[in-house]
Symmetry: D3
Subunit: 193 residues, 6 copies
Amino acid sequence: MTTEPISRFPIPDINELPEDIKTRILAVQDKAGFVPNVFLVLAHRPDEFRAFFAYHDAIMEKQSGLSKAEMEMIIVATSNANSCQYCVIAHGAILRIRAKDPLIADQVAVNYRKADITARQMVMLDFAMKVCNQAQSICDDDFDTLHSHGFSDEDIWDIAGITSFFGLSNRMANFTSMRANDEFYTMGRSFGQ
Amino acid sequence: MTTEPISRFPIPDINELPEDIKTRILAVQDKAGFVPNVFLVLAHRPDEFRAFFAYHDAIMEKQSGLSKAEMEMIIVATSNANSCQYCVIAHGAILRIRAKDPLIADQVAVNYRKADITARQMVMLDFAMKVCNQAQSICDDDFDTLHSHGFSDEDIWDIAGITSFFGLSNRMANFTSMRANDEFYTMGRSFGQ
Amino acid sequence: MTTEPISRFPIPDINELPEDIKTRILAVQDKAGFVPNVFLVLAHRPDEFRAFFAYHDAIMEKQSGLSKAEMEMIIVATSNANSCQYCVIAHGAILRIRAKDPLIADQVAVNYRKADITARQMVMLDFAMKVCNQAQSICDDDFDTLHSHGFSDEDIWDIAGITSFFGLSNRMANFTSMRANDEFYTMGRSFGQ
Amino acid sequence: MTTEPISRFPIPDINELPEDIKTRILAVQDKAGFVPNVFLVLAHRPDEFRAFFAYHDAIMEKQSGLSKAEMEMIIVATSNANSCQYCVIAHGAILRIRAKDPLIADQVAVNYRKADITARQMVMLDFAMKVCNQAQSICDDDFDTLHSHGFSDEDIWDIAGITSFFGLSNRMANFTSMRANDEFYTMGRSFGQ
Amino acid sequence: MTTEPISRFPIPDINELPEDIKTRILAVQDKAGFVPNVFLVLAHRPDEFRAFFAYHDAIMEKQSGLSKAEMEMIIVATSNANSCQYCVIAHGAILRIRAKDPLIADQVAVNYRKADITARQMVMLDFAMKVCNQAQSICDDDFDTLHSHGFSDEDIWDIAGITSFFGLSNRMANFTSMRANDEFYTMGRSFGQ
Amino acid sequence: MTTEPISRFPIPDINELPEDIKTRILAVQDKAGFVPNVFLVLAHRPDEFRAFFAYHDAIMEKQSGLSKAEMEMIIVATSNANSCQYCVIAHGAILRIRAKDPLIADQVAVNYRKADITARQMVMLDFAMKVCNQAQSICDDDFDTLHSHGFSDEDIWDIAGITSFFGLSNRMANFTSMRANDEFYTMGRSFGQ
């Protein structure tokens, strides 16, 4: 297990955190078996922590026309476009698990156009990359293309919302030098999982 | 008063919104004399609305080594880099008021390097633009430069947090075609205010 | 009224300028009520001053299929792409007046794709941005698109000419740190003008 | 001699041009032995023609701390950055002649950093490229660097003026598909000239 | 084991390949336990195959001041900059093995500036990225920086040679839609290897 | 004849080179009348020299649906995109000779879209530029476009192979500051050759 710093900023002692934050962190630890560093790094600022995870849950835990795996594809593709180590590695792990596919995350990260995805998912990721890199040029044609692949307006909001939120997350992770936990690198990599 | 649509998505009836959201909207209306469209556009999704404004308040309403005007400068400069009409126009208005300067917002929006700002503010905006455009390259030298102009590590987090959050906001505004209220264009433009 | 320098270079005394330049400056002062700084900054070099304004008049004062407001839209959109404070602010003022629309200039400056303009004007600005940013790729398809929106070949020359001339102007303004007059910021901002 | 069109737009009959334009064109023909196409292409619009060449003469025919060859280096380097065939080829010819160097033009066009030029000329071209590509970032440091290589403020204006003017020229040449005369390709290419 | 196509182009039957190519492929199969797809995809053109691997061996199998792991870092970082799935995934595997570090490849791929590497390796990768993205601007200062971190001129050639060769490889892999073998994804990922 | 250095690295004495390399160099000298500097510069590393020219011959000397002139067009256009003096100048000379056209090389180098080439060659160069600048986005549509202009899959491989190989060559030439021989500048420039 590496002992490299996980942030440029101080990491609070879990026991000294506000009760709600401590509870959330212990819950994720119970579920995942470890505490993803994003929880510890952002706990440096409790109010931002609360808002960050409330936003995360609002877009990631909702009912959606996007599958859980598709949501993670968006995160992985746009996070590599933003060169965000934490999000590519951590959400790469989650994508492998959600998609039950040990190859998909590395493929989507490096070049989603060559990944084992459907035509619909390709269009979804084309749009996510446009939200990421040139949101100012989004136009009716983009909506038409997405509609023609079965995405509803609410699904399109989900794509844009996830991309926008992780654009924030990517910038904060790069800014804080947030380190991905060693556990993420190997999760979901066995074939017969 | 223009009657153009303010979003690609439906705008909820204020009276049918959850109580907390309705209350927040009425409060801002009381204070500002009108409801900024961002409240109405994002109310389409109550959970995201709550998280969005919780994040906003967490970074904008906190004690900071940045003045209120400096916070708005960051928003205006990076929002023009992202070609976000809503944020440049709405926060341009707030910047004029916070800085008690009718010229500053247009200057900062178009080219902050030529604006009537201090050397310290120039360094602050250089860094905000780096968080906006190439956060992956943030390095120790950036922190050293900011420290040498009197910014603490917490101040630097504030710069990065504001830039990152409004990067999210800019993308959602461009995605939804969020329209700036007519009121913003003229606020804070008289000299002797 | 601010007393910031309006140029990196010396500003000549109007009374010591060649007669034709002095006459032109006094005429614009009579008409506008003040001397736009571009006249004072460029008067540092009388021959370039004369050529600059002769070019300006040749493309801006001619009969054209473009309305005066459309000409100003081109200037405002491309000048923000070139981050030119002087031209965005000064021609933003003129655009508001020409279009009798207090909102249009800020909209066009930040993101013309979201502005209150016609489909024809959108195509015009798409082409102006191509002349501004990648003139080497202009091709027959661009002319076809413009023709199909009613632009003649001569109108297209007007779009290209205005964009090219203000590309020169933007670079000289950024180079000289040409300062926009305070008057421009508020011109044309009242609704019932 | 090729007979390809030299412009997308009509080329006027020299004899039907206004007298001053006809005179200028005949003078250049006398001197060069042929009429460079820029004169014929721009004569389609006499007022713009007059202003264009007045501007050209104002910056190119003046006394300057830059040598004639240095002026042409600026044009060649920035015109290739703008992918302008006419200006690279025509001014490449003039550069070879001015510098009495058959190699210099192709070197400067493709990569001035590897050309047979002095350290002073390298700094001059670095600055010209900044005016060409990111004039918004020009700052005091740029002036300091240029001063330290012996450029006066007026020389720096010359660099900026030439770059800005040919930025206009490059865009108009690409827009009109202005064709370089065959003669330019071989001018100044013999060693012992 | 996936059965997706590994190239847009036909894959030759190993037994029908020229003897030298067949021998090389069987040798790599013996050593690795499988045939990396690059051998099969490029065998479509035997002469290019021979030259490609001769070049590969000339830069990768030579004595060098760079360690084998450092060579692979260069490949992984620049191949992600070129969005090349095959090379990031295949050479990511080799990097993990060469460095005996299960984390290093993903870190270097996404953002080498945040990877667990030495200051010397950081400078090496900064230069590799410059060769990859803007070789035209390489200058004496780059050599000075590399010398000051202990790289000899021959080491610097090695960095440039590896980057240049894999730039070729990245383009051919993206062009052919070369698929990375499933085996690469998991190689070198266990901690105590 | 200039006596500038032709490389940052040592140039070996031809007589001390391995026999095969010496033979190749003398053969090219016999044929061309001089030794192109690329042979001398790369001979610094015999194994890389051999692989480089084997690759060169494999793609340039093969039977192809591309004419010799078309191959050179690809090199010249992409080498200017990579700002590579050596390749633009040396292969510009070869292009003029292959095409028996003294104008074509300068046209293609600066802006192939305005060159005297066929529609088929335009499509070929569009694709070469995509391989050069954004190979990750190559897709079925690109192949369809090329097929519709008569290119076979093997021809398309030739375009990609030439572009990729000269991308390597361009980077090594910029890295080594490889100087083009004076002879290249004037070859093929007379009309009636």
